[in-house]
């Protein structure tokens, strides 16, 4: 059986067919052969018996009338049958009467039996001959006995020939069945061999796109279908794996890139933080040195420089926080009505201040005339719009030495509002324009670094504009100037032009009869606020924590406004605000905190705070905010 297992399917089928057909043929031929041998023996016997009987009949009269010659004449008729070797006619007494032999060598024996014992014809097959003994009887009278010897050599020869023919036919049949089996096994073995070949090819080449063509509807057809399905599944899996691999690769590259960026960022930040720090700490130490010979005008200059550096540092930190928030997807857009004219004017005002500080008063900072004639109110996030414009103008200021900076907006179409900031600065070439909105990209001169900055402002602007639903781009000509454009959805709000809030930027507030409660646990910060408020002549009450603030508020009914820190011991600003608002819904509460995350602002507004100031709070901003709320209260208060 193991031998059978080791041969190919083709040979298995062929050998099975061959085995079956050979066995069948052999059995068939044996049956036919035996039948034929028996049949020819029987035929021989019957023929010779008939001959013996006929010869016997013909011998009746010679026997009767003692005619030996006649009898021999009759017997000689047997010579036509060559297989008859001899025949003997005995009379009724058993005496040899006449005989025939086809060869001289044959000896005719006398009758060895009692003639009366032989009453029926009998036949005996001996080794090489058939002996027929037949009593000759007519009309109940016995005339004699005829004994015929027939050689079976012919019969044996015939049988031998017959068997030879059968064998030849058998071999022919086996050869035929071998040829047929070889042909007919193909529909079974061929598809299996094809499948095997294909499988080998697939495993060799790793090509799973190959399909095997189904040719039949039998089990092999089903096998083909299943095989194709399997290939399909493998292909799917391969594709999915490739996709996942690509994604992983991309993610890896991104991770590596961001890792590189972070390293660059850290190096950059370190530099950018240390630079203003150097000025702040250096000048501060110069001023406070006990035996310094700093003259008062120099001192004033130093303080200005410290202030300047501090502002730079603050902006840097703001930028860092913004970019990280943008990256983390934490920036939230709070859309509400935005008075464009007011916003732009505020920006202009603040930059006129900055220009002074930066000693670039030769640069004209102006708003497009269009702004003055139109009073658009749109639905957008004012804070973020302000930030974008501030960044762009700041950037323009940085790269402009002479000329002007103009900004403004115009209606692009009914859906878009186009803002722009135009300068007459150094400008940039195409290559730099492509990179300008990327993080940490800075315009660098080959020789020296002219321009300070972390390179975050434009990246932040781009992200913010996109968050607001717009697009930002730049047009620039080197040495002529650059124009930054961005558009926003023109989501116009029709509103009657009620008293437009123009920020009173006068430094002179007089709140002689006002009471302001300041909740602040940090003494330095409290002192700062107290100093700022000193010039307004307002009465200032101090609370060391939220709980105390609530207590004081309960005792003093004449408090006009509360400045609330968030992070305080015992009770935080949120809780305190909530409690105070329970007592008096109308009391304005302005929070001020170093928490600068958007969630914190939301939380504050939720607790009932009216406005939100982020530390460091500039004196002018604090005063202006307080003024806004105090003025609103004035009719009631």
């Amino acid at each position: 059986m193991s031998l059978f297992q080791n041969i190919s399917i083709k040979n298995k089928i062929v050998s099975i067919i061959l085995l079956v057909s050979t066995i069948t043929l052999i059995i068939g031929f044996i049956i036919v052969g035996i039948g034929e041998i028996k049949n020819s023996k029987q035929t021989m016997l019957l023929n010779n018996l008939m001959n013996a009987k006929l010869i016997g009949e013909y011998s009746i009269s010679p026997l009767t009338f003692d005619d030996n010659i006649g009898a021999e004449n009759v017997l000689s008729k047997l010579s036509t049958n060559q297989s008859v070797s001899s025949a003997a006619l005995y009379d009724r007494n058993g005496i040899l009467f006449a005989s025939y032999k086809n060869s001289e060598d044959i000896f005719i024996p006398p009758l060895l039996k009692n003639p009366d014992e032989l009453v029926v014809s009998s036949s005996t097959f001996s080794k090489s001959s058939l002996i027929i003994e037949h009593p000759i009887v007519y009309e109940n009278y016995k005339y004699g006995i005829i004994i015929v010897h027939i050689s079976t050599v012919f019969l044996t020869q015939n049988i031998k020939n017959y068997i030879l023919i059968l064998l030849a036919v058998l071999i022919g049949m086996i050869i035929l069945s071998f040829i047929l089996a070889n042909r007919l096994q193909k529909p079974i073995s061929k598809p299996i061999l094809e499948l095997a070949q294909l499988t080998r090819k697939i495993s060799g080449e790793g090509n799973y796109k190959v399909r095997i063509e189904r040719k039949s509807n039998d089990e092999i057809g089903i096998l083909y279908d299943d095989f194709n399905n399997m290939l399909q599944q493998i292909l799917h899996r391969e594709d999915a794996r490739d996709v996942a691999e690509k994604k992983l690769l991309a993610a890896k590259e991104k991770a590596e890139e961001s890792d590189n960026l972070k390293s660059a960022f850290l190096a950059n930040m370190s530099h950018e933080i240390r630079t203003p720090m150097n000025a702040i700490l250096g000048f501060a130490e110069l001023i406070t040195m006990p035996d310094s010979e700093v003259t008062p005008p120099e001192k004033e200059n130093f303080i200005k420089l410290i202030n300047n550096s501090g502002n730079n540092l603050l902006r840097l930190i703001d930028d860092i926080i913004d970019i990280s928030k943008i990256e983390a997807g934490q920036i939230k857009i709070h859309k509400k009505e935005c008075y464009l004219n007011t916003t732009l004017q505020e920006i202009q005002q603040s930059f006129l201040e900055i220009r002074k500080i930066k000693e670039k008063e030769n640069i004209d900072i102006r708003i497009n005339e269009n702004v003055r004639t139109q009073n658009l109110i749109i639905n957008t996030d004012t804070l973020r719009l302000n930030q974008v414009l501030t960044n762009l103008i700041d950037n323009a200021l940085k790269f402009t030495e002479d000329g002007f900076i103009e900004f403004g907006y115009e209606i692009q179409n009914k859906d878009k509002l186009l803002f722009y900031v135009k300068d007459t600065g150094v400008g940039m070439d195409q290559k730099k324009k492509d990179l300008v909105f990327d993080r940490f990209t800075k315009i660098e001169d080959d020789k020296n670094r002219l321009y300070r900055g972390a390179g975050l402002g434009l990246a932040i602007s781009k992200s913010l504009v996109e968050l607001l639903g717009g697009k930002i781009w730049v047009e620039s000509t080197p040495s002529v100037g650059s124009t930054f454009y961005f558009n926003l959805p023109f989501d116009r709000i029709e509103k009657a032009e009620e008293n437009i809030q123009t920020i009173d930027i006068s430094d002179n507030y007089n709140w002689e009869n006002k009471t302001i409660l300041v909740a602040e646990d940090e003494p330095a910060n409290y002192i700062y606020i107290e100093e700022v408020l000193k010039i307004t002549k307002a009465r200032v009450l101090k609370a060391m924590n939220g709980k105390e603030a609530v207590e004081i508020f309960k005792k003093n009914k004449n408090i006009d406004i509360i400045i609330m820190d968030i992070k305080m011991p015992e009770m935080d600003g949120y809780e305190a605000t909530r409690r105070i608002k329970k007592i008096n819904q109308d009391i304005p509460i302005v929070s001020q905190s170093a928490y600068a995350m958007p969630g914190d602002i939301d939380k504050g507004l939720d607790s009932g705070m009216n406005d939100y100031l982020i530390k460091p709070v500039k004196p002018k901003v604090l005063l202006s905010i307080l003024n806004k709320h105090l003025n609103r209260l004035s009719p009631t208060g």
Partner: protein, 195 residues
């Protein structure tokens, strides 16, 4: 077939078994050995019985009725008559008793089954044959030319052997029927012409 033979064997009673053996031995002796003139007549007498086996007489001859004897008539002078009387005193023909009649008058032949015509009746042969022609009588003779003239069976000798001739045309014309086995050993005179 076997049964019949058995019956036959037993019908031959053992009483005359010895007699039969003696006779057979005797007959065999004359058949195969010397052939004298005297023995020829014995042989002829025996042959009559043998020939009778292959001849069928018509119904009116009453061959089936074993109570009635078979009549052999002898016309003319011949030594055969003694042999016939001697042999058929014992031997039967077709299981019938045999009576030997010597006749001189032709009219006596009428009830005969076999008529032996001696050589002496040569001149009278036509008359005899005219009479027997239509009768169921087997005519037998022993002279040259008799068969050609119309005798049914005529004995003759050849190579020291007794043989007989048969006038086939005469047999066909007579009411008798003769078996093929008889004709097989006989010399045929006047064969039946095909037409």
């Amino acid at each position: 077939m076997e049964k019949k033979i058995t019956t036959y064997k037993h019908s031959e009673s053992h009483i005359d078994f010895t007699k039969r053996i003696v006779l057979f031995l005797f007959l065999s002796l004359i058949s195969f050995k010397s052939f004298s003139q005297a023995n020829v007549y014995v042989l002829k007498a025996v042959y009559l019985e043998k020939i009778s086996r292959f001849v069928t007489w018509p119904k009116e001859s009453h061959m089936d009725d074993l109570s009635k004897p078979l009549v052999i008539s002898v016309i003319g002078r011949t030594p055969l008559i003694n042999n016939l009387e001697q042999i058929y005193s014992v031997k039967k023909i077709n299981n019938k008793k045999v009576i030997i009649k010597r006749i001189s008058n032709l009219y006596e032949i009428e009830n005969s089954h076999i008529l032996f015509i001696a050589d002496s009746e040569k001149k009278n042969l036509q008359n005899i044959l005219t009479l027997t022609k239509k009768l169921p009588i087997l005519t037998v003779s022993e002279s040259d030319g008799f068969a050609a003239k119309g005798v049914l069976i005529n004995f003759y000798e050849e190579n020291n052997k007794l043989r007989f001739e048969v006038n086939e045309t005469a047999v066909l014309q007579s009411p008798l029927q003769m078996s093929f086995y008889l004709l097989n050993s006989a010399k045929i005179i006047n064969p039946i012409k095909d037409n």
